[in-house]
């Protein structure tokens, strides 16, 4: 591995490969992309993440050239690409439906783009063979798309879009049609191929787990705007808003009013009859300001006996247990009706668990476990 961490976005000297500058896209009266600016760097595996209708697919289609922005500028390697038609762009796209040509064999599908370039026969054969090897499809070269499985079709689509060695590869929900197990394997395969080819990948997905696994950076989108652009761990650990915290993974959100104790330490009054919570934040909060504390379930400890020392301790009753095999998520109802989720690893056999449905339990977490959010 490289000794330096791959993080071109932190280097102010580095020129981005793709640059969205104040891009707006309207469909009639509907604003799909709202004055958005974004830089994506070379060799990145960049994920556009959001619920359906958030504008992520429109972003990708503008990069491919299928949509023209209403206003703003899109640069690829320093050049404005808005007037360039899709067939003249150094980008290739892998479609959600794969869009394999049903009348052509796997081999001809992969060779399709190379033929349009007018590549020499020998070079083209070599390139197609290379792509077949990369995606482990050698045995299926002579088959038509309807004669292979879904996973194989996905790999043909990938091979076809990589064959022309694009500067930028766009992947539109590339794994959406695969079952869970195959999807996991394919995620690692995608990362492998991205590393081997050194191509910049931009992936569109609504699956947060997929984005977390594959991406170097994630852009969380909502209603045509970027909510947060950061590395997966930053997005998970320090979300900027309740929306991001809630969209990525499981989270407990507790709403309350803040009081400063000492620098960075706050007391949060959140419900009548409950002890105030303690939380830390580097962001300043005014006295009495409404704040949301986001705490991940795995950072909440659950125990049958009251823990000795902890910044926050609450008591409640086990309402529900979601057993996931390796993990269990406990839904604990507090006296005021608030439900807090706690997740623990099942390190002991299930029969030896010291509490079950209806039992009174104690939940505890540290002041730094949660993130204080203003909105």
């Amino acid at each position: 591995m490289n000794s330096t961490v791959f993080a071109p976005w932190e280097d102010p000297e580095k020129k981005p490969l793709i640059r969205f500058q104040n891009v707006t896209k309207k469909f009639g009266t509907f604003t799909a992309i709202d004055n958005l600016s974004l830089d994506i760097y070379e060799r990145e595996f960049f994920a556009l993440l959001g619920p359906s209708g958030c504008g992520k697919t429109t972003m990708m289609r503008m990069l491919a050239g299928f949509e023209t922005p209403t206003s703003g500028r899109i640069e690829l390697a320093g050049k404005n690409i808005i007037p360039v038609p899709p067939n003249k762009r150094a980008t290739n796209m892998m479609f959600q439906s794969y869009a394999l040509f049903p009348h052509l064999t796997v081999w001809d599908n992969i060779a399709f783009g190379l033929r349009r370039e007018g590549m020499e026969k020998d070079k083209m054969n070599a390139r197609v063979e290379e792509m077949l090897r990369l995606t482990r499809l050698e045995r299926f070269a002579k088959r038509k798309p309807h004669q292979i499985s879904g996973g194989q079709r996905q790999r043909v689509a990938l091979a076809r879009s990589l064959a022309k060695a694009p500067t930028l590869l766009l992947l539109d929900e590339p794994l959406g049609a695969l079952d869970a197990k195959l999807r996991q394997d394919t995620q690692f395969e995608l990362m492998d191929i991205q590393e081997k080819t050194g191509t910049t990948f931009v992936i569109v997905t609504h699956d947060q787990e997929e984005a977390m696994t594959v991406a170097s950076r994630i852009a969380v989108m909502d209603e045509g705007q970027l909510i947060q652009v950061a590395t997966p761990d930053r997005i998970y650990e320090t979300p900027v808003s309740v929306y991001v915290a809630d969209f990525i993974g499981d989270v407990n959100i507790i709403e309350g009013k803040t009081t400063l104790i000492e620098d960075g330490q706050y007391q949060i009054d959140w419900a009548e009859g409950q002890m105030p919570l303690h939380a830390a934040s580097s962001q300043p909060f005014d006295k009495g300001q409404t704040c949301f504390v986001a705490i991940r379930p795995e950072k909440v400890a659950i125990s049958a006996e009251k823990p000795q020392a902890a910044d926050n301790i609450v008591q409640g009753k086990v309402l529900d247990i979601a057993y996931l095999g390796n993990l269990s998520t406990y839904h604990v109802e507090l006296a005021d009706g608030t439900i807090i989720k706690s997740q623990t690893a099942n390190t002991r056999r299930i029969a030896r668990r010291s509490f079950t449905w209806g039992d009174t339990v104690w939940l505890s977490w540290t002041a730094t476990a949660g993130v204080m959010l203003a909105r």
């Binding site: 299928f66 439906s97 040509f101 009348h103 399709f112 783009g113 370039e117 309807h146």
Partner: protein
């Protein structure tokens, strides 16, 4: 048992409405003409038996077809008129079907309706309407003279041009519908994928759209060519005496000359000519079904 009935129904249909009539026609084609009612001497009768039939068997009516140049000229001219009409129908029908398939979703049902609508009126009435449009004093000539494009009325009715217009008009829906259904099924992202991989709009059309609508094109062409080959009403009403088509020859042989045996021989040969495209059509349909699976 249920399976047997399911298969038996179409076969019974085929037997009653195709095979039996065909054998009657075949029998007449082997007979001799006579001044009688019906106007032929049966070659085969149950009294004399099969041996007498085979002993007296001759193909004089079929031989006659080769002797008089009228017949093979009529066959040839029918094939060429039907072939050219098919090409013309395809040229007009494909863009129509393409436009329909690309039209906004809410318009498609209406457009489809407009294609089918002419079938609600009698075919004969529509052909008569074309006589009114194409004749020397017809609407078309009046319009052209009014615009000043021509000073003398054009002779369209009773020429092959009128036959082509009639066939293209009548059979256009048979071309449009299968092509439309092929284009409608096509995934729009295929065209985008082709463009993404370096195709211009036009080359994407030739390399993706046309091959994927191939089955629709073939089905449409056969659906036009097969009935157009034996077409009788259109050439006789619009084509005048100058147009030679086998359907018309057959009709004249049967009703004007009352030579049933020769007319039957003409019909048998016409059927044999049609068997080739019909078999090809069937094979195409089977391929299409397999590809769709």
């Amino acid at each position: 048992m249920r399976k047997f009935f399911l298969i038996a129904v179409p076969y019974a249909w085929l037997l009653a409405l195709f095979l039996i009539p065909f054998f009657i026609v075949l029998k007449i084609s082997l007979s001799d003409v006579a001044l009688a009612r019906p106007p032929y001497v049966p070659q085969f009768s149950w009294d004399d038996g099969i041996m007498a039939f085979l002993r007296d068997l001759d193909f004089e009516n079929f031989v006659f077809l080769t002797e008089d140049s009228l017949y093979w000229k009529a066959y040839l001219s029918s094939v060429s008129i039907a072939g050219l009409s098919t090409i013309l129908t395809l040229t007009i029908g494909y863009p129509l079907a393409y436009g329909m398939a690309r039209a906004p979703e809410e318009w498609r049902a209406t457009l489809m309706m407009l294609i089918i609508l002419p079938f609600w009126t009698s075919f004969l009435i529509r052909v008569y309407a074309w006589m009114g449009i194409l004749s020397q004093e017809g609407l078309l000539n009046q319009f052209l003279m009014w615009t000043g494009l021509i000073s003398e009325p054009l002779m369209i009715l009773n020429t092959p041009t009128a036959v082509y217009i009639g066939i293209v008009y009548t059979y256009l829906p048979f071309m449009v519908l299968p092509i439309y259904s092929a284009l409608d099924r096509m995934d729009g992202s295929l065209i985008e994928a082709a463009e993404d991989l370096g195709c211009s709009r036009l080359s994407a059309f030739w390399l993706v759209t046309v091959p994927l609508s191939r089955n629709g094109i073939i089905a449409g062409c056969f659906l036009v060519f097969i009935p157009a080959l034996g077409e009788f009403v259109i050439p006789s009403l619009l084509g005048g005496s100058g147009t030679l088509m086998i359907g018309k020859v057959l009709w004249e042989e049967f009703f004007s000359n009352r030579d049933w045996p020769v007319a039957s021989a003409v019909a048998v040969i016409l059927l044999l000519i049609l068997v080739i495209p019909i078999v090809l059509f069937q094979r195409n349909q089977q391929d299409a079904e397999e590809a769709a699976k």
